[in-house]
C-alpha cells in the first residue's frame, strides 16, 4: 500500500498556500520540490519577471504558466542608456504581446524596460486585455501618442500609466482626451517624459478632477506654473507629485496660490520635476517638506545656498536626487539634517566640461557617509577622489548595498597620492558585505579585481570602464564573484583567456557586455561552439567579422544565457554562431 506522505495535501490546499508566496525566487524553489508541486505551482503562478526578453520565448512562458496576470520584461542591455547599443539592435515587445493576446485574455499588468514598443503593440494591448490595469514603459521607445490614445480609449480599468523616461513621438493626437468621461480609475499617472505639444491641459484637469483615487501624478515640463496650483487643488490626496515648469520671475499672486495649494496636500510624501525652477518659488513647498521622504531635484539648476535651505526643511528625507550644485557644503547640511537618508544620487550639471563648475568633491560624500547611518544606496559623480575617502566611507557605512561612483575623467588617480583606487574600492567590497551593485571608475589595476573577487560575494551587478591591466582582472571577477548576474565592461584590456577559462560561469549569469575590449572574433566563435545555451552576439557596425582575421578584436560583445536559442530579429550588424542567419542581407 503506497505511503500517504505529508505533502500529498489536496491541490487546492497547496494552491492556497502557494498564493502567499509572492517572490519569484521562492516560487522557483517551490516548483523544484517535486513534480506535483511543479504542476500545481505553474497553474497558479500569476506574476512573471523576465530579466532578458531573449532568454526565453513567449511560447515557452505561456506553455509553462497558463494563467499569468502580470508580466515584467526587460530588453536592451543597461549600456543602451549611454548610447552604446546601436539603434535597431532589438528588444521588440510585439511578439510577446501577440502571443499573450491569445493566451492571457485576463492579463492585467505589463511592465517593460528598455524595449521597443510600437503603436501596434499598444493598440493590441488595448483591445486584447479586458481587465487591463497597469502599463509601465520605462526607458522605452518606438511609440507615439496614437498608441497612448488607444490605451486611453479602451482600458476602462486602467489604474497605472507610467511612461518614465521613455521616448514618445508626438503624433499631434490629443490622447488624454481619449479617456472617456466615464473613466475614473486612475491611481498613478507619469507623463513627465512627454513634450510640450503632447498634453492638453484642460483634458488633464478634467481627468484629475474625476479620478478620486489618484495618488501619484507626474506632469510634464510644459504645464505652466500657474496651472500647477489648479491641479493640486483638484487632487489634494496626492502622495507623489511631479511638478512642471516654473516661470521666470516671482509673481506674488502665483506664489501664494501655489503655497496654499501645497499646504492642502497633507498626504504628499514625494516630489520631483522642478525643471527650470526659480529659487524664489521654492518656499511654496515648505509646508509639505517636513513630511517629504523623497525629493528629486536632479533637474533643478538651483545653487547650493537655496538647496541647503530646502533640505534643512526636510528632516524625514529618505531619498535625495540632486545635481552637483549642492556642493560639499550642501551635503554637509544634508548629513546633519537628514538622519533617515537611505539613498543619495548626485548628478553632474555639466558632465562634458573638463573644469568642475561646482565645488563638489569627495568631502561631500564622506560627510554624508558619516552623518547618515541608514545610507544604503549611492550614485555619485565627482571629479576628485582619494583612497582615504573611500576607506573612510567603507568603514563608516558597512551597510551600503549599492555603490556607484563615477569619477568623471577616466583614469583619474588619487589626488593626494597619485595612486590608483584599488585600495579604496577594495575597502568598499571588504567592509560592505551586503553590496549587491558596484560601479567603478578612476585609475584601477588588476588588484582591484582581485579584491572584488575575494570579498564581493553578494555582488550581483558590476560596471567597469577604463580599468584593469590584463585578463587576470576579468578572471578574478568571473571566478570569485559567486552571486554575479550582470557584468558590463567597456574599454578594458580584457580578452580571450579570461572569457574562455570562465565560460561555464557565463551560464550562471543573466548577461555579460564587453565593448572596446580585447576579445577576438575567434574566441567568440569558440565560446559559441562550447556553450550551446549561451547566445554570443557580436555587435559590429564595421561589417562582417569574417572579413577580418580571426584574431581581430570585436567591437561589442553581448553574451546572455537563453533557453530560446538564437533570436530571429537580429539586425545586419549583429553576428552570432549561425552562419545562415548572419548572412541575411535584406531587411
Amino acid at each position: 500500500m503506497p505511503k500517504r506522505l505529508v505533502y500529498s495535501l489536496p491541490d487546492e490546499v497547496l494552491e492556497h498556500v502557494f498564493s502567499f508566496i509572492q517572490s519569484d525566487k521562492d516560487r522557483n524553489v517551490v516548483s523544484a520540490v517535486s513534480k506535483s508541486w511543479y504542476e500545481i505551482e505553474r497553474w497558479c503562478r500569476r506574476k512573471i519577471f523576465v530579466g532578458n526578453c531573449y532568454a526565453v520565448s513567449p511560447k515557452m512562458v505561456i506553455r509553462r504558466f497558463p494563467h499569468v496576470r502580470s508580466i515584467e520584461l526587460k530588453g536592451k542591455p543597461h549600456f543602451a542608456d549611454f548610447n552604446l547599443v546601436p539603434d535597431g539592435w532589438g528588444g521588440y515587445v510585439l511578439p510577446w504581446i501577440t502571443e499573450m493576446a491569445g493566451a492571457y485574455p485576463w492579463l492585467e499588468e505589463i511592465r517593460l524596460k528598455r524595449m521597443v514598443v510600437t503603436d501596434e503593440s499598444l493598440e493590441l494591448i488595448a483591445k486584447s486585455f479586458k481587465d487591463f490595469k497597469v502599463l509601465v514603459l520605462a526607458s522605452c521607445e518606438g511609440f507615439s501618442t496614437d498608441g497612448l490614445a488607444a490605451i486611453a480609449a479602451s482600458c476602462k480599468n486602467l489604474r497605472e500609466l507610467d511612461l518614465r523616461e521613455s521616448e514618445v513621438d508626438d503624433s499631434s493626437v490629443h490622447w488624454l482626451s481619449h479617456f472617456p468621461e466615464t473613466y475614473t480609475s486612475m491611481v498613478s499617472l507619469n507623463i513627465s517624459c512627454l513634450g510640450s505639444d503632447e498634453v492638453s491641459f484642460s483634458a488633464l484637469e478634467r481627468l484629475v478632477s474625476r479620478c478620486p483615487n489618484l495618488r501619484s501624478l507626474k506632469l510634464n515640463r510644459a504645464v505652466p506654473l500657474d496651472k500647477t496650483a489648479n491641479i493640486l487643488r483638484l487632487a489634494p490626496q496626492l502622495v507623489e507629485f511631479g511638478t512642471c515648469t516654473y516661470s521666470a520671475e516671482l509673481r506674488s499672486d502665483v506664489f501664494s496660490n501655489l503655497a496654499g495649494a501645497f499646504s492642502n496636500c497633507k498626504e504628499l510624501r514625494s516630489l520631483c520635476g522642478f525643471w527650470d525652477v526659480v529659487p524664489d518659488y521654492l518656499p511654496a513647498i515648505y509646508s509639505v517638506c517636513s513630511r517629504l521622504t523623497s525629493l528629486n531635484l536632479s533637474y533643478a539648476t538651483i545653487q547650493s545656498p537655496d538647496l541647503i535651505k530646502l533640505v534643512s526643511h526636510c528632516p524625514s528625507l529618505q531619498r535625495l536626487l540632486v545635481l552637483d550644485y549642492i556642493e560639499d557644503s550642501g551635503l554637509e547640511a544634508l548629513a546633519s539634517n537628514c538622519k533617515d537618508l537611505q539613498e543619495l544620487r548626485v548628478f553632474p550639471s555639466d558632465p562634458f566640461d573638463a573644469e568642475p563648475n561646482a565645488s563638489l568633491t569627495e568631502q561631500g560624500l564622506v560627510a554624508v557617509s558619516l552623518g547618515c547611518p541608514k545610507l544604503q544606496s549611492v550614485l555619485y559623480f565627482c571629479r576628485r577622489m582619494s583612497n582615504a575617502a573611500l576607506v573612510t566611507i567603507a568603514q563608516n557605512r558597512p551597510n551600503l548595498t549599492r555603490f556607484r561612483l563615477c569619477i568623471i575623467e577616466p583614469n583619474t588617480t588619487d589626488y593626494l597620492t597619485g595612486e590608483p583606487f584599488d585600495v579604496g574600492f577594495g575597502a568598499i567590497v571588504e567592509h560592505c558585505k551586503d553590496l549587491i551593485r558596484l560601479s567603478l571608475s578612476g585609475l584601477l589595476t588588476d588588484c582591484v579585481f582581485e579584491y572584488i573577487g575575494k570579498y564581493a560575494k553578494k555582488l550581483e551587478m558590476l560596471s567597469v570602464a577604463f580599468a584593469g591591466d590584463s585578463d587576470l582582472g576579468l578572471h578574478h571577477v568571473l571566478s570569485g564573484c559567486e552571486s554575479l548576474r550582470k557584468l558590463e565592461i567597456r574599454d578594458c584590456p580584457f580578452g580571450d583567456k579570461a572569457l574562455l577559462t570562465n565560460a561555464a560561469k557565463l551560464e550562471t549569469m543573466r548577461s555579460l557586455w564587453m565593448s572596446s575590449c580585447s576579445v577576438s572574433f575567434g574566441a567568440c566563435k569558440l565560446l559559441s561552439q562550447k556553450m550551446p545555451r549561451l547566445n554570443v552576439e557580436v555587435i559590429d557596425e564595421r561589417g562582417p567579422p569574417d572579413s577580418r582575421p580571426e584574431n581581430c578584436t570585436v567591437d561589442k560583445l553581448y553574451i546572455y544565457r537563453s533557453v530560446a536559442g538564437l533570436r530571429f530579429d537580429m539586425p545586419p550588424f549583429v553576428w552570432t554562431k549561425d552562419e545562415d542567419l548572419a548572412l541575411r542581407l535584406s531587411p
Binding site: 542608456d81 552604446l84 539603434d87 513621438d169 583614469n411 588588476d446 570602464a465 531587411p587
Partner: protein, 184 residues
Amino acid sequence: MENDLNLKATELRLGLPGSDEPERQMTPRPNKRTLSDIVSEGSRSTTEEDHQDTAPPAKVQIVGWPPVRSYRKNCLQGKKDEVEGGTGMYVKVSVDGAPYLRKIDLKVYRSYPQLLLALENMFKLTIGAYSEREGYNGSDYAPTYEDRDGDWMLVGDVPWEMFISSCKRLRIMKGSEARGLGCI
C-alpha cells in the same frame, strides 16, 4: 616613477591584426593620461600622450562617457531647436518590411545624393536616382519624409535646406507604394 614613461604599457590596445602584445607592467602608472578619442563609427586609433605636455589637447567626447543618460542630458540642455544649431539633427528612419528603426543625423550630410547613398548602405537596398518628373520610378524603394505639417513628401522634391529644416522623420517605402507621392 615619474621618469619611467613606458608608453607602450599605457597604450590601450584594440587588437589590429599583427600588432604586438603590450608588456603588462605592474608598476604604478604615471598620472592621468589623456584618453584617445573614441568614436562610434569609423576607424579607431590610440594616441600616446607625452605626460610632460603642459596644455592638454582639447577634450573630445567619448561615446557614452560619463554615463549620463541622454534623457537627462537633453533635459539639462533644454530641448534645443534642432534647426538652430543643436548638437545634431537626429531623425528616425524606418524601412517598409524591416522590423527595426535606425536614427541618422541629418547634419552629417550636405546633399541628397550623400543622404541617399548613406541610406542605401545602411539598409542594404537600392534607391536609385531621383527625377523631378518621375520621382524614384524604376527603383525598388523610395525615400519619403514627414514634414513639420505632418504631410508625407518624397525626398528630393524641395531644396536641400528646406528639407533639412522640415524633415521630422524618414520612411523608405516600397517603390510601388510611393508612386502616389510627389506628383507635380
